[in-house]
Amino acid sequence: MTSLNELTLAEARDGLKAKDFSATDLTRAHLDAMEKARALNAYLVETPDRALAMAEAADTRIASGEARPLEGIPLGIKDLFCTEGVATTAGSKILEGFTPAYESAVTANLWRDGAVMLGKLNLDEFAMGSSNETSAYGDVVSPWRRAGSDAKLVPGGSSGGSAAAVAAHLCLGATATDTGGSIRQPAAFTGTVGIKPTYGRCSRWGTVAYASSLDQAGPIARTVRDCAILLGSMAGADARDTTCADLPVPDFEAAVARGVKGLTIGIPKEYRVAGMSAEIQALWDRGAAMLKDAGATVREISLPHTPYALPAYYIVAPAEASSNLARYDGVRYGLRVPGKDIAGMYENTRAAGFGREVKRRIMIGTYVLSAGYYDAYYVRAQKIRTLIKRDFEQAYAAGVDAILTPATPSAAFGIGEKGSGDPVEMYLQDVFTITVNMAGLPGISVPAGLDAQGLPLGLQLIGRPFDEETLFAAAQVIEDATGRTRLPAAWWA
């Protein structure tokens, strides 16, 4: 029999409902798996007492027929979401010792629906990274290995802990966030499904900010359906975040079975970037064929400003980050390193508290906003952003329902392999995902097969604003055609 932690979220939900097992059993199975998987360094904090208390409460509700949508479902929480009474670090030393007195909107929604919190998941520091190597609390190790190799691989980032935990059955699903690809790239690297919903679908209240105009929360789970279930609980209007859309949350799970018959899928020619591997090209073609076979029309489209997205992102995101991270000054919470005066305290605290990548982005951001450079960088980047958005609008106006692209330029790479010399090498990881954040659109990454070394590869579907439903429907077609990804054997246990 499958261990309880290897069920899908939907299976677990149905099993709980049918009283095949208890929420406590389900939670214990996860806590046991987490304990055995510490080598992956996916969890920064485990909260077993809280988890068991929540599971027990869930069992009581299930017994009395008052189960809520996620009753008893154990989840991992990316450590960017503030959790009341549980340390929250954003993967940074600068927030060492910080325990919020409040619960983020997204996690509060999950607990409202009965979910169980297993702990806080590792991430790149302040969500800045594509490999989970910038975390101040150590690298996350992917549960995947190349065939015949025991080299440690990255799980992707910044939601590396979330993706690794989901892939290694250390939770049924996890919260994640995506500013330039931080949900979709790790999902692709770990054979899991991740959706970045439309900007404004989930409240940002209580989530540590990286780049406010791009940040968006979403789930990572093992199936498309599980993602749909989770997003349904995470999303929703919130008056505390004025950028959060005041829209009802559709029944995402119902959309999973819709199919793609009659839909038009666009294949953007600009995504066929120079140096794209034959393997990725083949994957992309295979995805297109799957959708076509299921009744969709597939046609080539043009998104001409795509090549400018990555450079523009690395102006806008650091600019916002340089300002968002100014509050970490050692005055009110987190790390404080004394200095001879207030400026000395700021400098010492921030020098010791922030890691290299965070410092780099703060410096880039400060530079591009400086007098004399603002117009040349920030203003132009915003113009590019408008043009990128318009590219998508025109494609959708021409009848395209969703756009298919690869999720990443390659499969997962080894820890320490990329970016140590040239940070741009790492930034290129997000070349396919970043446009989606710049345009505020929803994007989903779904596994579509393995590469020659046996590592998962993902495809990305990009949708109209607030049309996550079409993405779930199309991703389900790919998931069905690909078959559920075989997850790695538990070499770590």
Partner: protein, 490 residues
């Protein structure tokens, strides 16, 4: 630019006459129950850090939400300044590090303020008026307060004010003397208080001024300006300008040049001193706050607010002059505070406006000032003062008795008519009684009578004696007439 220069306003230097050019940035705290972007209270006072929300303390993940009441106040103020109301404005972040600025940035409006160009009509004490251009008004957050005197080695921070809404009202450099500057701030304060958008209390810091001062010889282009930060009383504004203008003149006449800088005024020492130079000026790295959408509203919203505006000082003054026949000066005094104007109108209702104005300005205001009362806490109500004015008008009491009556009402209260009855303050109009008194005085002072026939101005002495003899209650007109007749004076 080529407005006529008033020679009286020039400052005499050692070598030349100098014109001082002043522009002001007024920070006015918006009257609202909660802060600009959080629900925390704006109440003045309270223990340090009592009125601080998670947003104000810039806890991780906290987001600002615009307070609609503050937006309405800014629009109302813009309307009061006859200014352009911008239907779309943008909040920007002004980035700098300071312990009392928890976010590491102030949310302000840089490129697209909520209110654009307007103007303020300012009356000067000499009866002249000037129009001061308003460049813009924008909304921004106040900072907290650093407390340096609580601990020998550390500074403490009080965030009660952090995030309170301010309106920054920027004038054009249209002011030409410290007197004009003081009159401008006074008038602006009056407008704000009429609108109820700022209490104007400079002692509590609800209204602060940054004053830009430069000097030039008449006809020259504008000189280099210095900004004097955070001047917190109208008197100090005047002093700071005088001090700074003279400092600049002395430097230039000595062959030096003014360097653009930010200065502080020290009222104790009567000097301004450098705070930071242009080179040390912050690069604030303004950019639109991505946590906030642009602020947008339609004309209907503006119209609704306009419809709810009270009568503003200029309109009220014109009406007082037209309907009550007041002098511009008296009208100006009465409208300086909305409560005073309301009080006056209550007294003047159905009565002679000029008489009412005299009593309110001369007797009541004089007494209120002396005792440190405000019009709101006046011991004499408008009804009471109105009754006193009526009693004079009806000839029941003389002006002199009225002053005594005012004293009684001030200190003891009560209905003036009843007091007059109860204490026998009615003036004597019975000519028989007055005649008896007059006859007696004439009989006792034959020399004076003879003199008076030669020198009619002595009539006053007889009037005085008669009033004294009748305990001040004699009707002065009757006394005059009788004396003239009896003394044979025309």
């Amino acid at each position: 630019m080529t407005a006529a220069v008033n020679p009286k306003k020039l400052i005499k230097g050692g070598l030349h006459d100098w014109e001082v050019v002043i522009g002001m940035e007024i920070h006015a705290q918006v009257t609202s129950r909660s802060k600009l972007f959080s629900g925390a209270s704006t109440e003045f006072g309270g223990e340090p850090n009592d009125h601080v929300s998670l947003v104000d303390a810039a806890m991780p993940g906290m987001l600002p939400v615009i307070n609609e009441a503050c937006v309405a106040q800014a629009v109302r103020t813009g309307l009061g300044l006859k200014a352009q109301i911008n239907h779309r404005s943008v909040f920007d972040r002004k980035n700098y590090f300071y312990p009392d600025l928890p976010q590491g940035y102030q949310i302000s409006q840089f490129k697209d303020p909520i209110v654009g160009e307007g103007e303020v009509l300012v009356d000067l004490p000499d009866g002249e008026s000037i129009t001061v251009g308003i460049e813009r008004l924008h909304l921004e957050q106040d900072a907290g307060k650093s407390l340096h005197d609580q601990n020998p080695t550390q500074s403490f921070v009080d965030l009660n004010r952090s995030g309170v809404a301010l309106m920054e009202i920027v004038s054009r450099p249209d002011l030409r003397s410290s007197e004009e500057a003081r009159a401008y701030v006074t008038k602006l304060r009056t407008i704000l208080r009429y609108l109820g958008t700022c209490d104007g209390d400079m002692e509590k810091g609800s209204l602060r001024a940054d004053v830009n001062v430069s000097v030039r010889r008449v006809g020259d282009p504008l000189g280099t300006r210095c900004e004097i930060k955070n001047v917190n009383s109208i008197r100090f504004i005047g002093q700071a300008i005088e001090t700074e203008a003279r400092r600049q003149i002395a430097i230039i006449e000595d062959g030096g040049t003014i360097s653009q800088e930010t200065r502080l005024f020290d009222p104790g020492k009567g000097e301004t001193r450098s705070m930071r130079s242009k080179e040390e000026a912050h690069d604030y790295r303004y950019f639109p706050d991505p946590d906030l959408l642009p602020l947008e509203f339609d004309q209907a919203y503006v119209d609704a607010l306009a419809a709810g505006l009270p009568e503003l000082p200029d309109a009220k003054k014109a009406r007082f002059i037209a309907s009550y026949g007041l002098s511009p000066y008296d009208a100006g005094v009465l409208i300086a505070e909305r409560a005073s104007a309301d009080y006056f109108e209550a007294v003047a209702k159905g009565r002679d406006g000029k008489a009412a104005a005299n009593w309110v300005i001369n007797e009541l205001f004089g007494r209120l000032n002396k005792e440190g009362h405000s019009i709101e806490t006046s011991p004499v109500s408008a009804d009471q003062l109105g009754a006193i004015v009526d009693l004079i008008g009806e000839g029941v009491i003389s002006g002199k008795i009225a002053k005594d009556l005012f004293e009684i009402v001030w200190s003891e209260g009560g209905d003036p008519r009843q007091i007059v009855d109860a204490r026998g303050l009615k003036q004597v109009t019975d000519t028989g009684a007055i005649e008896a008194a007059v006859d007696e005085i004439i009989a006792r002072n034959p020399e004076k009578v003879a003199q008076a026939r030669e020198k009619p101005t002595l009539l006053g002495w007889f009037v005085g004696q008669t009033m004294k003899a009748t305990g001040g209650k004699a009707n002065p007109a009757a006394v005059n007439a009788l004396l003239k007749a009896k003394l044979g004076i025309e």
